[in-house]
C-alpha cells in the first residue's frame, strides 16, 4: 500500500474520531458516536498491517508477537469492561487511561532505543515529552484508581514540606529531560521515566477524594497529548490528529467539570496545600442525632406534598436504584410531587447518578439538575438524601478553608424535613463532618440504602 492511501485511510479514521466526540456530546447520538469511534479505531488498527513503513516489509516483522499481544490485551480488557459494576466504572476508566499513558511512554522509549544517535533534536524533544507525560499519566492514574477503589485513603495526603518535595521532583524531571536532550543515552531516559513516575504519584496524592474525577479527566487529556507527540516521532498523521483531539477536548471537559464543582483547576490540584488541614472527628462523636425508624420515614413521606430525592454514592454502592424508583412510583401514585435532585458530581464521577437512574428507567422528567431544583427546596416538605453527603454539606458554603469550600451544593437544609439514609456516621468521600446531620429537622435512618429503602417502601404500603 502506498503512503498516500495509507494516510487517506488514517485521515478517515481521524474523521471518525471527530464524529465520535461530536456524537458523544448529545444524549441522542451518544451511543452511535461511541460506535463510530470504535469503527475508526478498528480501521486505524487494521490498516497498519498492510503498510510497510520505510526500511520494513510486509508482512510485518514480529507479526506473531504483535497478534499474540493484542489477543492478551483483548482477553484482559473486554471482560474487565463487561463485568465491572456500575459503581466501579470510574476506577476502570482511570485504569484504562493509565495503561494508555503507559503504552505511549513505552512506545516512545522503544523508538528512542531504535533511533539512537540518528534521532533529530525535535524527535528527542517529542520523546522526552511523551515519556514524562505518559509516565505521569500512568502512575497518577494508578493512584486515582487506588483512591476510588479505597485501597488507600481518599483524603488529601499532605506531608510536611510536601510542596517542596513536589517542586523539587518537577525540577529534577525537567532537568533530567534537558539532560536526555543534550547528552542522549538510554540511562538518562530510564532515570527520566523513573522520576516522572514518582512525580505522577506526588502530583495526585494531595488531591482530595471528591476532586479525583477532575484529575482523571486532566490525565486523560495528558495521555492524548502524549499520543500526539509519539505520532510526530513515528510520522503518523492519525496519531497526531487523534491525540490532539483528545488532548483538546479533554482539557475543555476538565474545565467544564471543574466549573460544575465551582472550583478552579488550580484550586483542585493545589488546594490541599493552601487550605488549613481540618481536624475531622472520626468516631467518638457524642453529639446527639435524631435517628428514626423506617415507619417514621414513611410517615414523613406520606404526608408530604413535595419530596426531593437526592441520590449519592451510597445509592450506587447498595445498587438501590430500582428500589428508589419503586418508592418514587409509590409516592407519585399517592399524588405526591417527586423529583430527583441531581448534583453534577454526585457519586464518583460527573453524571454518575444519571447513568445509574437511567438504568432503573427513572422518567427523565423527574431528574432535575442542581440549578433547577435548588430554588424549589423552600417549597419542599421532605428532602430524602440517599447515600449522599458532601454534595449537601453546608460546610461548602460556610466553612472557608475546608476542602470542599466553594463547591455549589444542593440546599436541602431549606426543605421542611431532611432525611438521611446512611450506613453510618462516617463522613463522606471528602472526609468532612456534615453539620446538617445534627440539625433538629434532620432524621437519620442507618443501614444499607437498599435495605432501608425496602423497609420504607413496606412501611409506606401498610400505611
Amino acid at each position: 500500500m502506498n503512503r498516500a492511501i495509507y494516510d487517506l485511510i488514517g485521515l478517515s479514521a481521524g474523521v471518525c474520531f471527530i464524529l465520535a466526540l461530536k456524537g458523544l456530546s448529545h444524549p441522542r447520538t451518544a451511543r452511535r458516536g461511541n460506535l463510530i469511534g470504535a469503527l475508526g479505531a478498528t480501521i486505524a488498527t487494521l490498516v497498519v498491517f498492510f503498510y510497510a513503513s520505510e526500511g520494513s516489509s510486509l508482512p510485518l516483522n514480529n507479526l506473531g508477537w504483535i497478534l499474540g499481544a493484542m489477543v492478551i490485551g483483548l482477553l484482559i480488557g473486554v471482560p474487565a469492561a463487561r463485568k465491572v459494576q456500575m459503581t466501579q466504572m470510574p476506577q476502570l476508566v482511570a485504569l484504562f487511561n493509565g495503561v494508555g499513558g503507559g503504552a505511549a511512554a513505552l512506545v516512545a522509549i522503544v523508538e528512542y532505543l531504535r533511533l539512537g544517535d540518528g534521532a533529530t533534536v525535535a524527535e528527542v524533544v517529542a520523546t522526552v515529552f511523551t515519556v514524562i507525560v505518559g509516565c505521569v499519566s500512568f502512575s497518577g492514574s494508578i493512584i486515582t484508581f487506588m483512591k476510588l477503589q479505597e485501597l488507600m485513603t481518599t483524603r488529601p495526603v499532605v506531608f510536611p514540606g510536601g510542596r517542596f518535595v513536589i517542586a523539587g521532583t518537577l525540577v529534577s524531571v525537567l532537568g533530567c529531560g534537558g539532560w536526555v536532550i543534550s547528552a542522549l543515552g538510554t540511562t538518562p531516559l530510564l532515570i527520566l521515566a523513573g522520576l516522572s513516575l514518582l512525580f505522577g504519584v506526588l502530583f495526585v496524592l494531595p488531591v482530595g477524594g471528591a476532586d479525583v474525577p477532575i484529575v482523571i479527566s486532566l490525565l486523560n487529556a495528558f495521555t492524548g497529548l502524549t499520543v500526539a507527540a509519539s505520532g510526530y516521532v513515528l510520522d503518523s498523521t492519525l496519531l497526531i490528529i487523534a491525540g490532539t483531539l483528545v488532548g483538546a477536548s479533554g482539557t475543555i471537559l476538565t474545565r467544564l467539570m471543574a466549573e460544575a464543582m465551582g472550583r478552579s483547576l488550580f484550586g483542585t490540584l493545589f488546594g490541599a496545600f493552601t487550605a488549613k488541614p481540618q481536624d475531622v472527628a472520626v468516631g467518638g462523636e457524642t453529639r446527639p442525632v435524631r435517628s428514626g425508624s423506617p415507619d417514621d420515614v414513611a410517615i414523613l413521606l406520606n404526608y408530604a406534598r413535595r419530596v426531593v430525592i437526592v441520590p449519592g454514592f451510597g445509592l450506587a454502592v447498595a445498587q438501590a436504584q430500582h428500589t428508589v424508583r419503586e418508592l418514587a412510583d409509590l409516592l407519585t401514585a399517592k399524588g405526591i410531587d417527586v423529583a430527583y435532585g441531581i448534583h453534577p458530581v454526585a457519586g464518583r464521577m460527573p453524571g454518575h447518578m444519571n447513568v445509574l437512574l437511567a438504568e432503573a428507567n427513572v422518567p427523565y422528567e423527574q431528574l432535575a439538575e442542581m440549578d433547577e431544583v435548588n430554588p424549589t427546596f423552600p417549597q419542599t416538605d421532605v428532602a430524602l438524601i440517599i447515600g449522599a453527603n458532601d454534595v449537601v454539606n453546608p460546610a461548602a458554603k460556610n466553612t472557608p478553608g475546608c476542602p470542599i469550600y466553594g463547591m455549589p451544593i444542593l440546599d436541602v437544609s431549606l426543605a421542611g424535613n431532611v432525611i438521611f439514609l446512611k450506613r453510618s456516621m462516617r463522613p463522606g468521600f471528602a472526609g468532612i463532618e456534615n453539620e446538617l446531620l445534627y440539625d433538629p429537622k434532620t432524621t437519620l435512618l442507618f443501614g444499607d440504602a437498599k435495605a432501608s429503602l425496602t423497609k420504607v417502601v413496606g412501611a409506606l404500603k401498610s400505611l
Binding site: L21, A30, R31, G40, L60, A104, R114, T244, V246, A248
Partner: protein, 100 residues
Amino acid sequence: MEPMAIVAIFVLAVFVGFEVVSKVSSTLHTPLMSGANAIHGVILVGAIIVADHSSTNLELGLSVAAIILATINMVGGFVVTDRMLEMFKGKGKERTKAPK
C-alpha cells in the same frame, strides 16, 4: 512530513477538539471522558509500528507490553463507554414511546 504541515494539523485539531465538546451537559461528562479515553487507545497503532521496527529482545519486549496496554485501553474503553450509554438509550426509547 513537513514541520509546518504538522503544526497546521496540530493547531486545527486543537480547535476542532475544543469546538466539538464546548457545550455538553453534565449528564454526559462521564461517557464523554470514557469515550475520549478509548480514542487515545489508538496509540496501539504506534505500538504495532515500533514492534515491527524492533530488532533487539529489549525493544520487542517493551513493544509487546505497549501493545497489550494499548489494546486494553482501546477495546476496554469502547466497551465500557457503550455499557454506560446503553442505559441512556433504554431511557430514550421509553421517552419516544410515551404519548406526549
